[in-house]
């Protein structure tokens, strides 16, 4: 059984974009209404009288009156009717437009309307061309002649039939009355102008590309089809809804709120770059500007989402949170976004970093989420994917929205921003200036470059302000207080135990547990070694410089170094490593290699974690070199301990 969906039969038969033809036909019938329609009269054209002709200006006037539009729109509407072949011009028959003057038009007979779906066949066209060729004795237009020749070649097998048909039609036409004949000729000509347009003209019959699914095909309706719809409908009936007054109210309010921020509806300051060719507006509204504009700051108050979507707004909010000591919420939110949209390969690593920084018990930036969400999240982190942090992120988002955002808007930080925000004066360019602006236009910066700049700036800011953010190599350690800042930096004696703790499974990250028993840092070291870590394979000369570095670090530590920027870029773990080396590493040459090599290797190797840009060497001085030389003279044993980058196997071999 087949059910033909009558709705879908809109007479387009693989012809997309033609569904609206029925509407134009309705208008056309109205136009031809004897009472309210257009008045037509016989018109003399050259030597023949043509019945029911109308002038272009009449058509336009009628349309303008009917639809209450201005003449310009009425004209384009009329032109559309001409282009579709409902009305055809009598004089300039190749230009399918309505001219607002006394030029004459006629209504096409419904037989030739596009909705009749006459198959536009080449055979018919060939007959038409042949007929004209007979009548006008070879005077075809250029493109028609080309068509004619081509069709002749293609349809050679039935050309006799075509010529015969053409002759027959010609004879039949001669027997008609002259006005009838002229009218029919015009109609036919108009039909072919629409369907076989001269080159270079726009054809309204151009449907674009065919649809894949034939809209008129008989749809195979199986019970399955109904069932699918029923299931879905049943679900839909149960879905929660909001009263329309509420949701509509929100839409109206949104429009009202953003009305002044819509450049189509209100002016923008200082000027619209599209009008003045002056890009000050965009410069002032760059993602990372020092001082935002008033309008931008105003947008931050509209909604929390608006604030977070603007990088500058987020910076401002971050500053506020920092003063409230709750910066970890925003940092967590950003880390989640980063995880969600980042590369698939980095998901595992990022998830682990997020876990260690924000979620693990006693993590350096422990976020405050309820136990249930935490449980779900931690469980999910065993097999991390893009959306694994969604529940936690939503929780934190709502927390910030409900709590911090309100206080932010009342905070001195925000008030200060509002006070500082600039309100640029409107540009008043003279004609000459505008011309100059036009000449001075420069291509905009590529977003790729812009983002790089932004990232650089961000990195710079992070190094200056947010020290804790860079503690990314911290393994979670139960007592958070020790690690919360560099002023509480663990003393040299405490550090070894700490490092060992880091490697005991006191608080293993779920990921590394899920993976296998090796901790990630170890794995990473293995990878690094596999890559041919230059330090690991460096000759003795290289060792000297490395040990020198360890020494210089030690010196720095001894000197009671305060948390300078350099430390900000180093992880606590590498401090502890350096600290330990300072403790174990004696100057005396006969240092026994009493420290268990495996352990040492382990915690030294963590040093590999330091990103290369963090390896800042203090300026070397003479005595340092001496010391290092002394250390080097220390022999094999000393070398083992001092050189953290020496591979384990070598250590074992020599030790």
């Amino acid at each position: 059984m087949t059910i033909r969906n009558t709705l879908q039969d809109h007479g387009q038969r693989y012809r997309p974009r033609m569904a609206s033809l029925k509407k134009s036909e309705k208008v056309l019938l109205e136009m031809q209404d004897p009472k309210t329609g257009l008045k037509s009269q016989p018109q003399r054209l050259v030597i023949t009288t043509i019945p029911h002709a109308i002038t272009g200006e009449d058509i336009i006037a009628w349309l303008a009156d009917r639809f209450q539009v201005d003449t310009q729109e009425a004209r384009s509407f009329g032109s559309m009717l001409v282009a579709l072949g409902y009305i055809y011009p009598l004089q300039d028959h190749k230009r399918l437009v309505i001219k607002p003057d006394a030029s004459l038009y006629r209504f096409q007979t419904p037989y030739f309307w596009p909705t009749q779906q006459l198959p536009v066949e080449d055979t018919d066209y060939a007959i038409y061309l042949a007929k004209r060729n007979i009548r006008k004795k070879g005077i075809l237009e250029m493109h028609e002649q080309e068509h004619y020749n081509r069709l002749h070649k293609w349809m050679n097998h039935k050309w006799d039939f075509i010529v015969m048909q053409a002759k027959e039609q010609y004879r039949a036409a001669k027997e008609r009355k002259k006005p009838d004949r002229v009218v029919f000729d015009c109609q036919e000509r108009a039909y072919w102008v629409v369907h076989r347009p001269p080159p270079g003209t726009v054809s309204a019959m151009d449907y674009g590309l065919d649809r894949q699914i034939d809209p008129n095909s008989d749809e195979a309706v199986t019970p399955d089809f109904y069932e699918r719809i029923m299931i879905f409908t049943q679900q839909s009936i149960m879905r929660p809804r909001v009263k329309s007054s509420v949701s509509i109210g929100a839409l109206v309010k949104y429009c009202a709120t953003y009305n002044n921020h819509d450049p189509f509806l209100s002016n923008c300051l200082p000027s619209n770059p599209w009008i003045t060719d002056d890009v000050t507006f965009w410069t002032l509204n760059m993602p990372c500007v020092e001082i935002p504009t008033k309008m931008r700051v105003e947008r931050w108050t509209f909604s929390f989402a608006e604030l977070l979507s603007d990088t500058r707004g987020r910076d401002d909010f971050r500053l506020f949170l920092k003063k409230e000591f709750s910066g970890e919420n925003l940092a967590f939110w950003e880390a989640c976004e980063d995880l969600k949209w980042g590369k698939a390969a980095s998901i595992k690593e990022k998830a682990e970093h997020i876990y260690k920084t924000f979620l693990a018990r006693g993590a350096p930036r422990w976020i405050n989420i309820d136990g249930k969400t935490m449980e779900v999240t931690v469980k999910g982190l065993k097999h991390p994917h893009r959306y694994v942090l969604d529940p936690a992120q939503t929780h934190i988002y709502m927390l910030m929205k409900k709590d911090s955002y309100g206080r932010y808007q009342k905070s001195p930080v925000f008030k200060d921003t509002v006070k500082k925000a600039i309100c640029p004066d409107e540009h008043r360019f003279s004609g000459a200036q505008l011309e100059q602006n036009y000449k001075k236009r420069r291509p905009c910066l590529s977003p790729i470059i812009l983002r790089q700049m932004e990232q650089e700036q961000r990195a710079k800011m992070a190094a200056n302000i947010d020290i804790t953010q860079l503690c990314r190599f911290t393994t979670p350690v139960p007592h958070l207080a020790v690690y919360s800042g560099f002023t509480d930096y663990p003393t040299a004696t405490a550090s070894p135990s700490l490092t060992f703790l880091a490697h005991t499974p006191a608080c293993p990250s779920p990921i590394s547990v899920a993976l296998d028993s090796t901790s990630v840092s170890e794995r990473r070291v293995e990878e690094a070694e596999g890559d041919g870590n230059p330090a690991a394979r460096a000759p003795v000369g290289g060792n000297v410089s490395k040990s020198r570095m360890a020494l210089s670090l030690r010196r720095l530590l001894k000197g009671g170094c305060t948390p300078a920027t350099m430390f900000a870029s180093l992880s606590p773990k590498c401090h502890s490593a350096a600290g330990t080396s300072s403790r174990i590493q004696p100057i005396s040459p006969d240092q026994p290699s009493q420290a268990p090599p495996r352990r040492l290797g382990n915690f030294f190797q963590i040093k590999v974690d330091i990103p290369p840009e963090c390896r800042i060497y203090p300026i070397e001085s003479e005595d340092e070199e001496e010391e290092s030389r002394a250390a080097f003279r220390g022999g094999v044993g000393a070398k083992e301990i001092i050189c953290p980058w020496e591979s384990l196997t070598t250590q074992n071999g020599t030790g």
């Binding site: 569904a19 029923m230 299931i231 291509p443 812009l450």
Partner: protein, 381 residues
């Protein structure tokens, strides 16, 4: 997943119809072709059809109970917009054939356009310079998209593939980074979620979420019964909406991979679709020469944008920054500007010499770009 659904259908049928087991048996033995159906099966089908109609009535009733006000009422007190007059500020010349699609980058000055001369052009619109002109393997291109990061552009068409191009290549070379092939119909629309994910809609009635890095399909969104013509991603990137030639629009949850809502009401193919800027409503543009606004939260149609003098189908649409204006491109070479709240026509952009095929408002709302079959792009403001 389909199989699961199938089994579920069976269960539901056996639960809700009186002769459940009977229906189930029949269903399993039914041939795919409908020609061999017995009369008893036809009676059964009739029953199913009635049941479906019944459910549809129920949903209409359910929707009605929440319809306690209309947009006309709510917008009655809103100030009138007045006539909106935008002028052509720039004309981007360079394509040699019909332009089928354009998409703005996130930075409001760069945009990408696709034309059937087989070129994908990235424009610096303020200087009207071409940043990149990318020759395509298949010239039958129907859609293009600019990634939010600005690193990638994508296009596709009758080659049934979505090709991703990397703009960040060394020494300015733009290379095909990935060709996502699995659709069995032409590609009608594509939109990036990020540098790693893209959603495509196709003539094979499905939409697909792709993993660009691996080039594999992550999710297939099947449910439309006609060519899917366009899609729009919600501002929070959690949902997308697709419009199709079965006259319906469907809202999909990207993460859960399921259809959340279906909206009917149009009388012809939906060619264009988009979200209201706050993400709580969608706008559709159809071949029946109307646009409609649907509210997602109240789950119903709010308004129809139509005019007796507009005869031609809608090809493309875009809301303005505030959502107050709706710009709709039509087959009749014009773009109509509507007051979204009052459903009144407040302006016309006339300037193209052929069908307007695509339209986009830049992310800062400063300008709107139209592309046409006359091979030009115009920037209006």
């Amino acid at each position: 997943m389909l199989l699961c659904l199938h089994i579920w259908f069976l269960e539901v049928v056996s639960n809700c119809s009186d002769d459940g087991s009977h229906a189930k048996d029949h269903h399993l033995s039914l041939p795919v072709s409908t020609g061999d159906l017995t009369t008893s099966a036809m009676g059964e089908m009739e029953e199913l059809r009635k049941e479906m109609e019944n459910l549809k009535d129920q949903i209409t009733a359910a929707r009605k109970t929440f319809q306690d006000s209309t947009l006309q009422e709510a917008a009655a007190g809103v100030t009138v917009v007045g006539r909106v007059q935008l002028k052509t500020r720039k004309t981007l010349r360079g394509h040699l054939a019909k332009i089928y699609a354009m998409h703005w980058g996130t930075d409001s000055t760069l945009c990408v356009s696709a034309s059937q001369d087989g070129k994908l052009i990235v424009w610096d619109t303020i200087t009207t310079n071409k940043v990149n002109a990318i020759p395509l393997k298949s010239s039958w291109v129907m859609t293009c998209a600019y990634a939010p990061s600005g690193n990638l552009v994508a296009c596709g068409g009758l080659d049934n593939m979505c090709s991703i191009y990397n703009l960040k290549g060394k020494d300015g070379n733009v290379k095909v980074m990935r060709e996502l092939a699995a659709h069995t119909g032409y590609l009608s629309c594509c939109r990036f979620l990020s540098d790693t994910e893209i959603i495509t809609s196709s003539g094979d009635c499905t939409c697909v979420l792709w993993d660009i890095e691996t080039g594999t399909q992550k999710t297939v969104f099947a449910g439309h019964q006609g060519d899917a013509m366009s899609l729009g991603v919600s501002p929070d990137f959690k949902f997308f909406i697709s419009g199709a030639c079965d006259f319906t629009a469907k809202l999909w949850d990207i993460r859960e991979a399921e259809c959340r809502q279906t909206f009917g009401g149009h009388e012809s193919d939906i060619n264009a679709i988009g979200f209201f800027p706050n993400g709580n409503a969608v706008i559709t543009g159809s071949d029946d020469a109307t646009c409609k606004l649907y509210d997602l939260r109240a789950d119903q149609e709010l308004l129809t944008y139509q005019d007796a003098s507009i005869m031609c189908g809608v090809t493309s649409l875009a809301p303005s920054k505030s959502g107050r204006l709706l710009l709709a491109g039509h087959d009749d070479f014009n773009v109509n500007i509507w007051d979204m709240l009052k459903a009144e026509r407040v302006g016309v952009l006339a300037g193209h010499d052929n069908r307007v095929s695509c339209i986009g408002v830049s992310s800062d709302g400063m300008a709107c770009c139209t592309g046409s079959w006359d091979s030009f792009l115009k920037i209006w403001n």
